[in-house]
């Protein structure tokens, strides 16, 4: 460490968050955004659908990362909110006549309220047990929704064609509308998580993650901060769930509350890099790049993903993005503040 | 002949360097005190000897055998026991169980449960209650007895007096001569300088991870010790 205090004077300093990478990144990001916005105009249907899937998986990954990577709330039961959001979309479009696109944020808001009593239950379980508690809750929804005849019971329900047609008369129009919605969801998810982490609340969260004891002594209200994160993640996850089942047009308890949603997301975040915004993006890219060539291998693909996640957690817990930042000091989403000193030599 | 011989030991807590080239030796049956301010590296040094803190040294010999790279649980089996700072009794174990677990390695020797009870009769009366339900002084007795149960050749004591009333400290320290009489070498870390000077054959003073002074208590002046202890002189 260099000691500047003796023969140099700090003439000025500023606290900065942007990095060269983040400035280049925002230019690249803007160009990428333009390309992605225009995709329905030149891409074929399969490409559009693939990107919709990439967008919602990435959004889920960001939500889970916010919860676990920043909030320290390791939930393996987020499929509860994916399923709830999906069912909520079906209920409010079919029974209350809302438009399908507007039903997406509305589903998120309703599920945020539902998440309150759930939080009341699962927050009673500490640490590791919280994880399994959230899983039990998801199972309760899985088994419970199968018992509701008006929602089709165990075999599920399809979205009536009229509701789908209300989005747009043509198939291409619907695909484009859903695509743009998905793009909006993923961009706003990343933006909100980014802004949240840059805010005072984000600082509090980082403090909690780094040391629960220390942040307690600093007067950071752990419980309140964690609860807010949990509710926000419930809102986001449910809205994404609504989007997912709008693209699938059919919902059943076993598809909606499937643990595999969470499994996929956990693997993506862990392999990409937990506790960063870039990590889930990288993880999602890796997941889809590997999935296409390996989809024929089914179980082996999952074995590979699981083993990779285990090895990453053991050998490089900061994930692949962690390895990259460590080597190149690269940050596209600089959440941390850095002190820049101007030295008078 | 030295029982313990250490040359140029360094130790780190992740990125933070706590010891900078500490050298020390202890002869058989000798009592050595390590003194110094808070954070001077005394405890880290003891924990390095027991293998709890990773360290590097040019020489790190115990009875002529190198301890470098040995894990803590094996070092106990070679005859080095420690009374850790803050007693650290096991809450799930009764007083007697806390003592028995000291003999986990079943090293042969003279120390038995009966002898520990002889030394600290209070403990026998309370042997079935949880160790952590005892008073601070009694807990310290258990911690010493527990260390002795491993039949050590060398006993490391970390801050025996910490948090105890003066009269109880006297009690605790009065046990040390009888342990010494068994030929056990003692390395005592102590913030209470007077207590340390009283029992030690030699002292080492730690300052910012280095040895700042060493010698026999009778050869050292108050001023020398104060300088070595605080890093400043009274002058």
């Amino acid at each position: 460490m260099t000691d500047y205090s003796e023969n140099t004077n700090v003439t000025s300093y500023k606290v900065v968050r942007s990095t060269p990478a983040s400035r280049i990144g925002s230019v690249i990001g803007f160009i990428l955004f333009i390309i992605l916005v225009s995709l329905p105009n030149w891409g074929d249907r399969a490409t559009i659908r693939l990107f919709v899937e990439i967008f919602y998986i990435l959004s889920l990954a960001q939500m889970w990362n916010l919860l676990a990577g920043y909030g320290g709330l390791v939930s393996v039961g987020q499929q509860a909110f994916i399923g709830l959001g999906g069912y909520m979309l079906f209920i409010i479009t079919i029974n209350f006549g809302f438009g399908a696109i507007w039903a997406i944020p509305l589903s998120g808001i309703i599920c945020a309220f539902i998440s309150l009593p759930i939080a009341f239950l699962v927050f009673r379980l500490r640490g590791h047990y919280f994880a399994i508690g959230t899983w039990v809750v998801a199972e309760v929804f899985l088994l419970g929704f199968a018992q509701i005849p008006s929602l089709g019971g165990g075999s599920g329900k399809s979205l009536p064609i009229a509701i789908v047609k209300a989005i747009s008369d043509t198939r291409a129009g619907r695909d484009a509308a859903i695509y743009w919605t998905a793009l909006f969801v993923v961009v706003s998810t990343i933006a909100i998580v980014y802004l949240l982490l840059r805010s005072r609340h984000g600082l509090a969260l980082t403090a909690i993650r780094d040391s629960e004891e220390a942040s307690n002594s600093l007067g950071v209200d752990n419980f309140k901060a964690k609860l807010l994160v949990y509710i926000f993640a419930a809102f986001g996850t449910a809205a994404i769930g609504a989007l997912i089942f709008l693209t699938k047009l059919r919902i059943s308890p076993s598809a909606a509350f499937d643990i595999n949603w969470t499994t996929t997301v956990i693997f993506i975040v862990v392999i990409g890099g937990i506790g960063t915004i870039e990590g889930p993006i990288l993880g999602t890219i890796i997941y889809f790049l590997l999935r296409e060539p390996l989809s024929d291998f089914g179980t082996w693909y999952l074995i590979l993903l699981g083993a990779t996640a285990v090895i990453v957690m053991l050998k490089a817990p900061q994930g692949i993005w962690g390895i990259i930042t460590h080597r190149f000091d690269l940050r596209f989403f600089p959440v941390q503040r850095r002190l820049h000193l101007k030295l008078d030599e | 002949m030295s029982v313990l011989e250490i040359e140029n030991m360094t130790a780190f807590y992740s990125d933070f360097q706590a010891l900078f080239g500490v050298s020390l030796n202890i002869k058989k049956g000798e009592t050595v005190a390590a003194i110094g301010a808070n954070g001077a590296g005394k405890s880290t040094f003891l924990r390095s000897i027991t293998g709890l803190v990773k360290n590097n040294a040019d020489t790190f010999l115990y009875n002529g055998e190198t301890l470098t790279g040995k894990v803590a649980s094996d070092i106990v089996g070679l005859g080095i026991a420690m009374v850790p700072e803050g007693r650290k009794l096991f809450p799930s174990l009764s007083v007697e169980e806390n003592l028995i677990i000291g003999a986990y390695q079943q090293r042969p020797g003279n120390w038995t449960l009966d002898r520990v009870y002889q030394m600290f009769p209070k403990l026998e009366q309370r042997k079935d209650i949880a160790g952590t339900a005892l008073s601070g002084g009694e807990q310290q007795m258990v911690a010493i007895g527990r260390a002795l149960m491993s039949n050590p050749d060398m006993l490391l004591c970390d801050e025996l007096s910490l948090g105890l009333a003066p009269i109880i400290i006297k009690d605790i320290y009065s046990a040390l001569p009888s342990i010494k009489a068994e030929g056990v070498s003692l390395l005592v870390v102590e913030q209470d300088i007077n207590q340390a000077l009283e029992i030690a054959d030699r002292i080492y003073c730690f300052q910012e991870g280095r040895i700042s002074l060493t010698g026999k208590p009778e050869d050292l002046t108050k001023d020398q010790i104060a300088t070595a202890y605080f890093g400043i002189s009274y002058d």
Partner: protein, 290 residues
């Protein structure tokens, strides 16, 4: 009336199996402070190993344990020393995410090797024989054996933990692994032994489960949840609590199934959530000095 009595008695007998699932989980948590998400998959793994042993040797399921149990012990020891010991620390994420990843790996390896077909171990006449207590109420011999085994297991574990050198080492390491090392206890080895012991219990539980009901590679997570619920209902750290927890779960499931077959598992989960609301520390929370 007698029907309901029967439901409750059958529920208690089922509870024995759940207590067995739970005691392994409780030991792992008790000694290592680790929640092992692979627990259910390891139960299924034990069942499949027993199936292979039975096919190759022709042993009956009970006898197969003399091979399955040591295999599971060794798997447990190696799992702990080779992988899980490296996840221990203040951070909750590594142990959770590593065991979660392993759980997916085990499930899919079993799926690849044994296919998704449902399996069952055959134990002969003992499976169906029962003692009739009164008209309409009888106790199956096999469920009874399961419950008695569970009780014997808990008594044995208590003796082990309270009276033996190894048990003291388990408790001391669980209290404070650093200080335990100063006693000459190699905490890594002790953790390995604890996991080996837990998987020994898992072996017994897995074989008994596989005789009683069908199994396939996908059922592990459900068994994990049962074990977890029994532990929480009973109260963390209490072995007898896991028996009570298992029984409450078993009774709730049987009552649920009687009302509507679709409600069987749901009723168990709901019983768990009710306990969580009113007794968040379980029915028999461990006090520090018991």
């Amino acid at each position: 009336m007698i029907e309901w009595a029967n439901t409750i008695v059958q529920g208690i007998l089922t509870g024995g199996l759940y207590a067995m699932f739970a005691s392994g989980l409780a030991i792992i948590f008790g000694v290592m402070r680790l929640v092992n998400i692979t627990h259910g998959d390891l139960i299924v793994l034990a069942a499949f190993i027993a199936m292979v042993v039975i096919e190759t040797t022709g042993f009956n399921p009970f006898l197969s344990l003399i091979i399955v149990l040591p295999i599971m012990f060794v798997i447990g020891y190696m799992l702990q020393r080779g992988i899980l010991n490296y996840t221990l620390g203040d951070d909750l994420l590594p142990p959770l995410l590593v065991t979660f990843g392993l759980s997916i790996v085990i499930q899919n390896v079993l799926l690849e090797v044994f296919s998704a077909d449902s399996q069952r171990l055959k134990a002969g006449a003992i499976e169906t024989s029962s003692i009739q207590l009164v008209d309409g109420l009888s106790i199956g011999i096999f469920p009874l054996i399961t419950l008695v085994t569970a009780i014997a297991m808990i008594v044995g574990l208590q003796q082990l933990f309270n009276l033996t050198r190894l048990g003291r080492a388990f408790r001391a390491t669980s209290d404070d692994a650093t200080t335990a090392q100063l006693m000459g206890i190699n905490h890594r080895h002790i953790f390995g032994l604890a996991m080996g012991l837990a998987l020994g219990l898992v072996a017994i539980a897995g074989v008994l489960m596989a005789v009683r009901s069908n199994f396939d590679p996908s059922i592990g997570p459900t068994k994990l949840l049962y074990a977890f619920e029994a532990v929480i209902i009973g109260g963390l750290g209490s072995l007898w609590g896991t028996l009570v927890g298992g029984i409450i779960l078993g009774v709730a499931q049987n009552i649920g199934a009687k009302i509507d077959p679709g409600w069987q598992i749901l009723a168990g989960h709901i019983a768990f959530l009710i306990v969580l609301v009113f007794k968040p520390n379980g029915l028999f929370p461990r006090t520090r000095d018991d």
